[in-house]
Amino acid sequence: MADDEDFPSSSDVEEPEDADCYLSDQYDDNAENVLQYLEDGRQEDCNWSVSSVITRESLLAAQKEDLRKIMELLALSEQHARTLLIHYRWDVERIFELLDQKGKDKLFSEAGVTNLENKINHSLSSFNPFTCSICFEDVSCSVITEMECGHCYCNECWTEHFIVKINDGQSRRIRCMAPKCNAICDEAIVRSLVSARDPDIAERFERVLLESYIEDNDKVKWCPSVPHCGNAIRVMGDIYCEVECTCGMQFCFRCLSEAHSPCSCLMWELWVKKCQDESETVNWITVNTKPCPKCHKPVEKNGGCNLVACICGQAFCWLCGGATGRDHTWSTITGHSCGRFKEDRVKRIESARRELDRYMHYHNRYKAHTDSLKQESNLKETILGKIAISENKDSRIKDYSWVMNGLNRLFRSRRVLSYSYPFAFYMFGDELFKDEMTPQETDLKQNLFEDQQQQLESNVEKLSMLLESDFQEFSDEEVMENMKHVINLSSVIDRLCKQMYLCIENELLYPLQRATHNIAPYKSKGPERASEHSSRFTKATNEDIDVQHGSAVNASGSPSPAKRLSQFQPSSSSDGKHGCSSTKRAKNEGSLDTPLFDLNMPAEVVDKSWT
């Protein structure tokens, strides 16, 4: 694969149909190489992601950016802009929307911002002497402060009020002390009065204001790394996404647990709980043991016949659980007539056993892929060794980047495969969607899904085998052959993964009437690497890479760059869709309506049809 050429510009995507599939693979591979460059740190300032890392140092700058937007639009002071933003959870778009809907006065008053246009000015000295209605003391007008809302108290009382709120952790919005007054206290006054009494508390006030940008902001979250790396991640657009912090932590932005797509957050949460839970053990006990009628300890069946003996010495009948003597034959126990056979207990055991079997089925496969992933991670070192040998060989082939690209593809698709099992467990089980689908529908959809899952599985195993081959000992022809297989398989697998995600989003989750389950969209390159925060994305070409990469896999129907761009812009041109957890996302447009080749064909056949 020649990778010395530059990325094709978007116009290059328009290619004759028949050449498309081959070219698309090439682009895909190019993008992978870019990723490789990034991994090697050879290309630093590439800002193609929609998520960014906010470090302690850049927090202020990130916050200022949003503050400035509001200050400019509404002609507000910084502190009023901050009060407004904290109240509306740093959602600039929402403030713009509400400004239209409610008007300035209402927008301001609900947030506790005093509209200075409406303020009546009077001189404080007219209050001399002043009786503070909180401490009931008479004080000089030089030690009283009037808030913008017009309420006036002595400085001692204000200071005490501020400190109580700061110590209470409520200092992001300190309300005026007057009853029923909704105004938020001027942060400059808080700052100066509190620091005069206690600089440490004033500093805490400052820090809390700063961190509000993370704490009160649905689009910014602390990286969940332990020990904490100190970073926060900001996403633009959809909050259902998977990101990678600069510290290397990969996580689901929505629920902050490990990246778990194509499971929804709820499915993953349930699955983790289920795996840890004792309940499965309890099920096992119900199925495989019976309580001793004497000491009530669970006893396992210890032979073929129906007489079981507890360690306490008590013998009993396995069928009915009744205490018996020890004298028995294969089919009867002396003096015992098994009359208390309980139908419902047998039924309960049957259903418990079915549930357990079902769980074991999915869990075994989930576990198998997770284990393979662990083993394959060790493969990386070995492969790097083989590449080093190959590169020093006397051979025409010098570029072995395809091996690492194939290996990365293997890791990512293994991940998808392993999480696809808990997904299927919940999608087609009774726990979540029992009332959403008829049993026939469930069967139909399960078949559709499992068919895709199996195709992906077999291709992933093939890729795994190919990558384990000792290519450093191959002839040039054999290496070329191997390379072609790896590249083609990688491409097929990428497509299959994408197809599976689309199937899940559009065919399985989207039709649900009651429940809303959104999943992070498929990313060919794995969880998105958050870039270091910079004030705005700089190079349009960077998005082009993403556009092409995304579309190259789809090939047909190139998406309009304008549409793509809009999701990078947090600006006023919003379509009103927020990544709110309760809303259902629109159907994923990246459909695969005109597949390039028949996905039901095994990879080798596809391979042959390409060459």
């Binding site: 909180i134 009931f136 003391e137 009382c157 005490e160 109580v164 002390m177 007057a178 009853p179 007054c181």
Partner: protein, 198 residues
Amino acid sequence: MFDTSRVQKEVVEFNRDTAISGVSIALYDGAGGADLTHLCGTISGPVGTPYEGGIFVIDIQLPSGYPFEPPKMQFVTRVWHPNISSQNGAICLDILKDQWSPALTLKTALLSLQALLSTPAPDDPQDAVVAQQYLRDYRKFLGTARHWTETFAKSASVGFDEKVKKLVEMGFPEDIVRSVLEGVKGDENMALEKLCSG
């Protein structure tokens, strides 16, 4: 940090017009002298309500941040009301929680409680059972509330010391009587039960 001077002023100011306002406040003069963080308020049941004629005792605890933090108030007298727990006298009232303002006083708080007695807010209940009854069977609610007023709010107007005296006369040691009676918030019958059960 605790502002004694404000509380002292409040108490003095408070009882000037007790006869008209129908609320009053007193210090518990326990063994260790006057403690300004623990007060006892009373509310007379508003006229024209099932609480009419009753005297309701409120236990008031002042946190160290008072008046910048709200006072903690709880009915000592048992009362049948949607916003007051029939079990423990806990109160659901916004000004005692997030709507508290340092410019409010104990008197305004007690007056708000009095107002709460005449206008219950069953949509934001403290006691779900009472609230249900209030919404579904108002007549029955009135009956129960009146009965509770008769049973608890009229005998409760008997002073704490008198109750102590009565129980001491029955032969229980005074220090134990005091602590038990305090523990059950002045409920004579419950105190007696506890004392008898050892």
